[in-house]
Subunit: 298 residues, 2 copies
Amino acid sequence: MLDRVESCMESIVEEVGSEYVEKLYKELPKGKRLRAKLVLKVADNSEEAVKLAAIIELIHAASLLHDDVIDDADMRRGVASINAVYGDKSAIMLGDILYSKAYFKLVEFKEDIAKIISNAVALLSLGELNDVRLSQNFSPDEDEYFEMIYQKTASLIEASAKSAAVLSGLDADKFALYGKNLGLAFQIIDDVLDIVQDAQKLGKPALNDFKEGKTTLPYIYLYETLDEEGRERLLSLYKKDLSQKDVKWIKESMQKSGSIERSIDRAKELGYEALKAIEDQNRDSLKGIIKDMIERDF
Amino acid sequence: MLDRVESCMESIVEEVGSEYVEKLYKELPKGKRLRAKLVLKVADNSEEAVKLAAIIELIHAASLLHDDVIDDADMRRGVASINAVYGDKSAIMLGDILYSKAYFKLVEFKEDIAKIISNAVALLSLGELNDVRLSQNFSPDEDEYFEMIYQKTASLIEASAKSAAVLSGLDADKFALYGKNLGLAFQIIDDVLDIVQDAQKLGKPALNDFKEGKTTLPYIYLYETLDEEGRERLLSLYKKDLSQKDVKWIKESMQKSGSIERSIDRAKELGYEALKAIEDQNRDSLKGIIKDMIERDF
């Protein structure tokens, strides 16, 4: 079924009528297609679900293009990013093209579905803007972190589950709650992996988030447990190129303080809340998405 | 009526629920609101027309935000651009937020109207991408120029007139043709002004387009009339910081070769074609827009 989503995405891109756009599009890494899987599982693989999944994945791809420009990222999932190869200008415009073609297709759906998705795009753009602002200073505020990751990541995953539920006449609120909690857990795990996974597997440098100024949950929890001296050391490394010694200190402090484990526990908790939201909804396949995410080696 | 469009735009931006976004939005120069005026004139100032005009102007504002990032522009209509003051990241994200909120409102209209507008946004993003590509080399190809300015500028003006006509039950094709020709003429005049108007009035440096690598119509016509030596000199100045002497030479060559006049004539011709398209449509007020644009001192 994911193959049909890929074909649908390609045919929407072909409609632009530009070989250059097709060429750039083909260089984008496909990723996990989490949002498409979610739509297909909720909406039981219907024809309309394939189209909705394709639209949402195009929107997600557009947001990553702009995200990489914003983060000055050279790599995306282990391959060179479009902005690194073709420049920021092309990446911004390819993002705008994918967004607008996705919207062009989206308006073929009922107004409520179109509104769920377009509202999520506004939230995710706002989340990126807030991410940029929060990245100016070390900001160990858990509430701000959760608000930002809700906007930046969870809102579109929430919208995927919710819109697919509307499409299939299911309980939209329950699936929205599932999607929201899945999205929050997903971002926390992503933030943990930035610390515990090796650079090669990540396809980007280790502790990249911290260097970019992002105060992710493990750093917030670490900061809470550090004494004055430790806090000063952590703050002195914020946004800096880290030596091997610094990297080692951060990773060891994370393990010792239990902030990695506490972050993973928080993600698992959200995962269970997601499952609870849809326990009476007869969608066992959605459990697998949660389990794949949280039951793994870190 | 334009005041009501401004209020409507502001209330859409307020819905984002971010004071920072409102602050940035208020710093955007308002511009001529050509697209809003057009919608209001075609659709006879109806309530729905005000909303449609607001949506289109938000889309236009979003495209200018990305445009300024792409052009590394420090100024927009004589005031500092958002990217210059708050950085590219904020400008890109504010653009994405305005786009998505505009789409959020757009889906409240009938599907055909939503499709006209979203298709135009895909075209204008494609036009920007092509503009970036064409700006890599001096490209004196009139067809390429017209295709690019159709995409980049005329498509949204065409969509404004067309969607407003659909809204009012008027002949959509005729108003689309009016809008398209108006948009093409408008861009040519803009490109002429970059050469003939002084820097202060423009709010950007003189001959800025040429420095940015844009081969606009007057340059294409000039190139056609130059001898080998002149062509070499022109090409040697392409994308360079120009001395007073170079600026003087380009401006005088433009006048002498008649390429400015020929460009203005081309714009006037398109203006008349625009008027002809709607001559039986009982919309005399639309004539004023064309006349204001082409009957002026250069």
